[in-house]
Symmetry: C2
Subunit: 377 residues, 2 copies
């Protein structure tokens, strides 16, 4: 699809709804993360399921990231196509056609992936043999999330042995991500759970080591907990993604001071227009949940203190502006902060990148495709 905007266009003239990147906040977030982990043994492997953009992946790598990770082979293809040469599929891959594509990618870049089942190992081995490549497979362990992954310890060693014996595969290390804990609101509780994940990863690394297996990669962590994994001495790769943009859900964890989101800043917005204002207390924006994902709560208006997000339907967001002093008028633009950045990005085809976003003269500085938009396979 054609971008909604042109470079140099005033933001005020950009059609709505549009996915907007605040370049200043975005660059600050990238730098903040790089600074926070600088000098430690754990490097960033930014999660590209958040941004789906090799442009952003390469910016992360310029600041020290070893590469990116992603959840889908289609995302890995978009990353490699865009010049990222080190892409971990931090997920299981099931199905011969996807594994053939993964094997093919491994001719062009380093694209390891995860296994947690003997059949996954067998199917991947066949694909590697068909392609004549060797692929690194990480064993995923369940460090508390109750989703994928074998149990820590002996089960991981057993699966590593199966990987090691499989033609075309090489044991590449451990995937030890605790997803659900990222969203625990209380700081101490969140990091206590992350420490449990660290303990399970350590125990498993030691069990593997005792059997002669070295983990090139021990990966996990997210925006909510990465400091704990970074300090562990066990994890050497951190898979934080959301820090680049932030969202209202992570702001509830990491501290939201007014319209800042604690250590990271809000850098992603959906620019909307007031399309209806049938009564003075209600404005209706031209963006619903087909534009702004609501799995982690509704979007929040930026710069409208007192406004309350009401119902969201497919293409409408209702705001109660009863308590708002300077109410927007018909056709005025309103910026929304997404509840969850990752699935919101996936609803759009382009990032409209703006510097000095919250100033009247803001113009479009760059446009980046959401290259892996809809890469579900």
């Amino acid at each position: 699809m054609k971008p909604l905007a042109e470079i140099g266009q005033p933001l005020a003239q950009v059609d709505t709804p549009a996915l907007i990147v605040d370049l200043d906040a975005f660059e600050t977030n990238l730098k903040t993360m790089a600074d926070m982990i600088a000098g430690g043994p754990a490097k960033l492997r930014g999660h590209s399921k958040t941004h789906k953009s090799p442009v952003i992946g390469l910016k992360q790598m310029e600041l020290g990231a070893v590469g990116v990770c992603c959840q889908k082979v289609g995302e890995a293809e978009a990353m490699v196509e865009g010049g990222v040469d080190n892409v971990l599929v931090s997920n299981q891959v099931a199905g011969a056609s996807k594994l053939d594509r993964l094997a093919d990618l491994n001719r062009r870049a380093f694209v390891p992936f995860c296994v947690d089942h003997v059949q996954g190992v067998a199917q991947a081995s066949q694909a590697a043999k068909r392609a004549g490549v060797t692929m690194d497979a990480l064993v995923e362990i369940d460090v508390g999330g109750g989703r994928c992954g074998v149990q820590p310890g002996q089960a991981a060693v057993d699966l590593a042995r199966i990987v090691d014996a499989a033609d075309g595969l090489r044991f590449g290390g451990l995937q030890a991500y605790h997803g659900s804990v990222q969203h625990v609101r209380d700081h101490a509780e969140r990091h206590a759970h992350a420490q449990e994940a660290v303990d399970k990863a350590r125990m498993t690394v030691e069990a593997l080591s005792a059997e002669g297996f070295t983990c090139d990669i021990v990966g996990g962590a997210g925006t909510g907990t990465f400091q704990t994994e970074a300090a562990s001495g066990i994890y050497n790769e951190l898979q934080a993604g959301s820090y680049v943009f932030m969202d209202t859900d992570y702001a509830l964890n990491l501290g939201a001071d007014g319209e800042q989101a604690g250590q990271f800043q809000y850098a992603l917005f959906v620019q909307t227009s007031v399309m209806s204002m049938p009564v003075p207390e209600r404005v209706v924006l031209d963006a619903g949940h087909k534009t702004c994902a609501i799995d982690s709560g509704p979007p929040q208006p930026f710069g409208l203190p007192g406004a309350v997000t009401g119902s969201l339907s497919d293409e409408h967001a209702v705001l109660d502006v009863t308590e708002v002093n300077n109410r927007p008028g018909w056709g005025d633009h309103v910026l929304l902060i997404p509840g969850h950045c990752d699935p919101t990005v996936n609803l759009h085809d382009h990032y409209i990148c703006v510097r000095s976003l919250h100033t009247p003269g803001a113009v479009v500085e760059d446009i980046w495709p959401v290259a892996a938009r809809g890469a579900l396979n």
Copy 2:
């Protein structure tokens, strides 16, 4: 994006996740609706925000629909491009660039739209004059949903008068859709609310008539209530959309008998694969809420009695299969019934259309683009 499948390919070989149309159920749904309203004064104007496909819009018209409706100018463009010559934008349109596109479309097809504010009328009038076209504008009234629309009665007459006086615009009728009531679970309560909408529409049509305004279109209704509006003698167009596919949310309203959805059948599925089964009671599917929208509840597995959908993350769905007798194995395919068809369709680029879906030899009969996928503007 390239389709995931090829015509003639066995469904069992189609990569996952994939958006699947059960052609038999789909065609039955189209016929059922056509039969249910046949002979009445109200014709179907199927809502293309559900399917985003001119192929499907044309099939609805072959069975008697006057055209389609949609929510966005971008959707209207996709419909006209695909050969649909009568497309109501059943929504307000705010912004000069969108209104210019709308005016341009009106050179090629009949593309009326809605207004509920004097500034919307003024901006549309300017666009029509720039393009040298006349556009039909429907006045939207709030029949109880509390979203867009002026109040029924005099306020609608006042706005109709403003439309009538605006260069390049013609008063086209009333938009009187009650969205939230579609999802009221109880049949009697739902239709009682729909009757209230009918009463407000009737009162407004009469007030308009008393002032000399004729409504070419009186449109509204959805899959949950269309029988009431069809029987009203006031509505002449029914904007039902979801009936073509059904989903688990509408099944809760319209009656779900086992894996049938009452009068309409489940015709839309997401085919997934078991990508992880770390413990016998849990399988993890390769489709999360980036694949299957969850605004109206999680998807439900088809043909797995006893399975319970647990957490959905971006790219994973966890099923508890404790109570399932024939549990799927690693790599096996599982069909999910979406919670809400409209936003689920918007996450995909193609429909993979299959006949005799629930038989072992099912093959891909057709592939339709989701032409208006991501048409947010």
